[in-house]
Amino acid sequence: MDMTGEYRIAATRDVVWQALNDAEVLKACIPGCEALEWTSETTLSARVVQKIGPVKVKFNGEVELVNINAPQSYTIQGEGKGGVAGFAKGGADVVLTKDGDETILSFAAKAQVGGKIAQLGSRLIDSTAKKLANKFFSNFHEYLSDDAPAGD
């Protein structure tokens, strides 16, 4: 699954960058995320519950920020193990471009699953992964638009 997208966010690039590095913000935006905590400067431990129809899998895993080029771009990637259900991993290259007082966030995401969940078939996995990636970035967009952070 590969997908790309773009959002225009009514906040300065520094504000957007800060939010992209705030575990509380990420936790609120990652669909199904129950816990997200820093384990080092660039890694976080995560617990995410995902439901696809009747399937409900709890993933325990790690999220890592790499290729950091503050405040312009990074790659956020994660890998989670869902017990007997299998595993999921994915990542997104995120680029922030200044446009006056606003910021254009563009991303290229990919996801992969293995084990039993992969047997659900790519039609479900692809559609779900796309939905989740879109949900994350639209949540993020909403968070910054609604919350209108004062740039602190």
Binding site: K51, I52, G53, P54, V55, K56, V57, G83, V84, A85, K116, I117, Q119, L120, G121, S122, R123, L124, D126, S127, T128, K130, K131
Partner: protein, 264 residues
């Protein structure tokens, strides 16, 4: 292994109590998807609440130009119902073509709708016929019910009680089954109703069942297989997998629409 507590309540009240009483409860309405999922250890609910024994949950009746089908009515019961046959035989054809005999004797219409598998047959019929889904708390129009992949307007622990289907003037369903599962690789339900022509497509859309506007417009002005054949079908937003590309599915939508209209 994990253990699951099985409940078989006789009333909606008891079912709701059981659903609220467990830590991770699921409604069991036939289990043709859920049990298979549990066997794979892809779901491990603490409690299963079997709603099939609740009074009034199954059976078929007709009154005032509408068919009412209880949520726990099996596909086999719909397929062999004389009442359904005389008022909307397309629904008998659809129910008779779901899965295999074991699935048809256990699986239920309510279970299929609540699951909203993007390749399930019933959602196409319910959407095209403009049915109303009655739950323990409210009535939901089919148009507002389906909300993307495996997602519906149902709240957590809301139970479908029955489905009310206005009798159409004409209706037919044509599907190209995935040979192993008999799920729809593409299924098209066409209906001429008092509110106009509706065409619903299952198995193809990335967000599950949807109505095809181009086909509805073409068939609304000329109900014929040739009118359906002339409609361009875009592969945008359609699924691609090892069984078929989006373009292949788009082509099948045209073919199935044509066959369905020809069958009315």
């Amino acid at each position: 292994m994990y253990s699951t507590t099985y409940h078989k309540p006789a009333s909606i009240e008891d079912a709701i109590a059981a659903l609220n009483g467990g830590e991770d409860t699921k409604i069991l309405a036939g289990g043709q998807t859920l049990i298979a999922t549990m066997k794979q250890h892809l779901a491990a609910p603490s409690d299963l609440v079997d709603i099939r024994a609740i009074g009034g949950m199954s059976g078929i009746s007709a009154a005032g130009g509408a068919l009412t089908i209880g949520a726990a009515t099996t596909h086999a019961e719909v397929a062999s119902s004389a009442e359904v046959k005389s008022l909307c035989s397309a629904l008998c054809d659809l129910a008779g073509g779901i899965g295999d005999p074991a699935v048809r004797h256990q699986g239920t219409i309510g279970g299929s709708l609540a699951n909203n598998d993007p390749a399930a047959d019933y959602p196409a019929a319910i959407l095209a016929l403009g049915a109303t889904i009655k739950t323990n708390t409210r009535e939901i129009a089919a148009l507002d019910f389906f909300d993307g992949l495996f997602t519906t307007a149902l709240e957590e622990n809301e139970i479908i009680v029955s489905i009310s289907i206005p009798v159409p003037q004409k209706a037919a369903y044509a599907k190209f089954p995935q040979p192993a599962s008999r799920f729809a690789l593409v299924g098209v339900f066409v209906a001429q109703t008092d509110d106009g022509v509706r065409v619903a497509v299952t198995g193809a859309g990335e967000d599950g069942v949807y109505r095809h506007q181009g086909l509805e417009e073409a068939l609304g002005s000329n109900w014929s297989a040739s009118a359906a054949a002339g409609v361009p079908i875009s592969p945008d937003g359609l699924m691609s997998d090892l069984h078929g590309t989006a373009a292949y599915r788009a082509n099948l939508i045209g073919v199935m629409a044509k066959r369905a209209v020809a069958a009315t």
